[in-house]
Symmetry: C4
Subunit: 132 residues, 4 copies
């Protein structure tokens, strides 16, 4: 019930390919079921600030076993989870983090992508997640 | 005027029972009157990100001797305590943290619960607090 | 151009007296011109979470040589200093922090108070500041 | 493709001159292409709290190769990058940070300025950036 490095590297390859296809430069992070980093790639010329954001997106997605953007809908002023970002050494709650599941639907990790619009980030994360 | 481990463990037992009753999986944290952790349980399959949130809810509740949700009403934009979450290494100000009192009404600690909707979190925290 | 411990202790005495007069229990912190703590008192029964807030209010006030509440008006969503609270290891930008000045108007430190409503916090901080 | 200390010092000189011209007292920070500090100056009497803000503005600008104020437009409640400030040990997303480019348009670092209104901060940062 945990991702292997081989799987994580497949995700990185697929995410890089999608990123190139849509003409972006991404930071791509894969964490395991314990929310610890397994593999990471920063494409040449990708934003330096997206390094930490991609890792935080992957962690946030595994922390709650959902897409990061779902949490962001609840963390707004007046929302049920307002300012949840202060937990866990800083969450990132906009799109770009996606859980990874095995054939039985168990969460085995998560992938986080940052470096373009949040729509593109999510597209690339999905492409990575679909590689396994 | 401080909670004992025996009391904290009773709270955990009661909170787990209520959590099962309402079909949730919770992180449950009990802190003493110094806001330091006494007992903790993460139910199998509960969100990993709720670990830190449950502890922060318990601490936040003891820090101000009130339910965490009360603080969240004041920390919104335009509110009297806007962005108070930046203090004390990160507060969690939505429901799920409840103070613990002795027979004389003195605060002896607090319980924090995270893992479901904030309504369910609060329900389980209350069940725990009522066990002593 | 820096506060002495003797002055800081006078501020604590005056702030405690005002706090008792208005029936509150306060945390009171005095920092010097370098924003470092000089004296501190937590009145019996005062909120534990206000310890850090009182110190952060004193620091924030010295950091910008103004009352903390002024900054909070600018740090709201849409404001010029939105999310400035993320700087300096966490600012507190609601009322209760007041700069301390010498006879020539030079800032020699600041006092921060937390433990009641922000109006009461500010009242007690002012009483402290007026003691020197 | 990285700023030299000589260039950074020219930026500091130009920013100080502009700051004096518009009657302000600034903290001025220059980071390299790795977002690490190269040169810094705090003008006598400038806000102490602006020290950290100027450095965070420079880092934030290099992290995303854009003016800091652009990010702040997207990090508001409801915005695409809501609460991005929680990443990278704290971003500052209001104006005053500007990327530095070489003759070919490559980003070689960034300058961050803090100590007055955000308009003045940006004006001084621009003056610094134009010195190389």
């Amino acid at each position: 019930m945990n991702i292997t490095l081989e799987q994580a590297e497949k995700i990185i390859v697929a995410a890089k390919a999608k990123s190139i296809e849509i003409n972006t430069k991404m930071n791509i992070a894969v964490v395991d079921s314990g929310a610890n980093l397994v593999a990471f790639a920063r494409m040449d010329g990708a934003w330096l600030g997206s390094l930490d954001i991609s890792i935080k997106k992957a962690k946030t997605s595994r922390f709650f076993d959902m897409n990061t953007g779902v949490i962001g809908e609840l963390s707004q002023p007046g929302g049920a989870l307002y300012n949840i970002e202060h937990s866990n050494n800083g969450l990132i709650t906009f799109p770009g983090g996606v859980p990874l599941k095995d054939a039985n639907g168990n969460v085995i990790g998560a992938v986080g992508v940052s470096g373009s619009s949040v729509e593109n980030d999510h597209t690339v994360a999905e492409a990575g997640a679909n590689a396994i």
